[in-house]
Amino acid sequence: MKKNCGQIQNMETILVIFIVTVIIAIAIGLFYNLQLKSLDSLKYNYQQNRAYNLLSTLPLSAELQYTELNYDKSSIDALKLLTSSPELKSSMKIEIQQIYPEPPKKVCTISNYPDCSTYIIYNKPPITITSQESISTPVSLYHPLQGKKAFANLIITVYY
């Protein structure tokens, strides 16, 4: 019945190797989880950067830019805002709020234009919103019918 010394040593070695492997497996599992979290934060930063990039490129897009004889007039065309929407795929909301001269606080449609302040040009929220972040930049808004410029804010709300 008694186990000899060699057998005991053999079993001890197996046990030590087993425990060390389990510890290594747990460490690798934890490391992998950390990597997954860093990937999530990378994705979050990417979404954030995209929104900032969009903030600077959107006023130059064909869907919003006001041009005269194809020359950029550094303004957003208010009439284009009523009839078009940028071609995007991301979950976000893009709006332009006129600040000065201050118009009545209403969402703009063709029927109430220009007596309105907010142009919602893109709105695609996800089914469930875990968090959201808004960034904005001042822009010049041109009203071609009145031939007047206004001061506005381009606001991008990114949904996560």
């Binding site: 019945m1 186990k3 000899n4 057998q7 053999n10 079993m11 197996i14 087993f18 492997t21 497996a25 690798i28 599992g29 992998y32 990597q35 997954l36 860093s38 990937l39 990378l42 994705k43 930063n45 990417y46 950067n49 995209r50 990039n53 600077s56 490129t57 130059l60 897009s61 064909a62 869907e63 830019q65 041009t67 005269e68 004889l69 194809n70 065309d77 009439l79 284009k80 009523l82 009839t83 078009s84 071609e87 795929k89 063709i110 234009y113 071609p144 019918l145 031939g147």
Partner: protein, 281 residues
């Protein structure tokens, strides 16, 4: 009993060893794919930054970007970018197939006659093009030379030339079974010829592996932007300013964006501005 114990030990070692082996292999495979995803997101981020800086720049410029993983651009109704084995949808990027290593990015506005899009051409530094011209195409080539002066991997040679297999040859003269560019169209040895209405559109076809798909995407963009301006016209129309003529010209534009049609739209737009009417574009 001792023999039974030894057998149990071996069975235990085999089972535990196999479980650990499977675990470590799975983690290694998953970790590789995770690292690839990380690299691809970093690459997409850098690409986005490069594109933004190009679009925001008031001057004609280029940007350099390194692709650490093999990146493929393909067009199938939409433009997709494949990095490693991950696919992402993108827009307005024209590239000659697969890229790995350094590449140059350049942007151009496509105006037909109003801006329909900004396109970005990504050329691998290793890609070499030779634009072959003759006496009749000297004028067109001098415009292109000026336009693409920032791209160092384009060479210009006068016909006849001896072809080198490391270079891609584009002929700016009528020649069979080669990529051949005329003043209005580009023809391919194995595809239908495509009409073009401006240099940026021509470059989109030259630098893309799927010019027919790019052509249909640009046509879609032209249609949507024409609709945008038609909608704008309906809001601009008044007793003082008559936009019916430009509206009818815009109606014809998607079907026939010829230089003549574009020129007549530009002229009508100019006349409207001279009459103190709001500009269409």
């Amino acid at each position: 009993m001792a023999k039974g114990n030894q057998q149990f030990n071996w069975i235990f070692v085999l089972i535990a060893g196999s479980i650990f082996l499977i675990f470590f292999i799975t983690v290694a495979v998953k970790y590789k794919s995770l690292q690839e995803e990380k690299t691809s997101i970093e690459l997409l981020n850098n690409l986005d930054i490069a594109i933004t800086s190009l679009q925001s720049s008031p001057f004609q410029t280029t940007s350099e970007l390194t692709f650490p993983l093999e990146t493929a651009f393909s067009c199938n109704k939409k433009i997709t970018i494949t990095i490693g084995n991950k696919q992402y949808q993108t827009e307005n990027i024209i590239s000659a197939g697969k890229i790995k290593g350094s590449a140059i990015i350049m942007s151009k506005n496509i105006n037909l006659p109003f801006k329909i899009s900004t396109v970005y051409y990504i050329l691998p530094e290793s890609a070499n093009y030779v634009f072959v011209y003759d006496k009749d195409s000297e004028e067109l080539i001098s415009t292109i030379k000026q336009d693409l002066s920032l791209l160092k991997n384009i060479n210009y040679e006068k016909y006849p030339v001896e072809e080198n297999k490391n270079y891609q040859y584009i002929y700016f003269l009528p020649i069979k079974n080669k990529i051949s560019v005329s003043k209005t169209s580009i023809s391919y040895p194995d595809k239908e010829s495509l009409p073009y209405y401006g240099s940026p559109q021509l470059y989109s076809f030259i630098f893309s592996q799927q010019p027919d798909c790019i052509s249909s995407l640009l046509n879609e963009k032209l249609e949507s932007k024409t609709q945008l301006y038609k909608n704008k016209l309906s809001l601009l129309q008044s007793d003082k300013c008559d936009y019916t003529l430009i509206n009818s010209k815009l109606q014809e534009l998607p079907g026939n964006p010829s230089i003549e049609n574009q020129q007549s739209i530009i002229e009508i737009n100019k006349q409207l501005i001279n009459q103190n009417c709001p500009a269409v574009f």
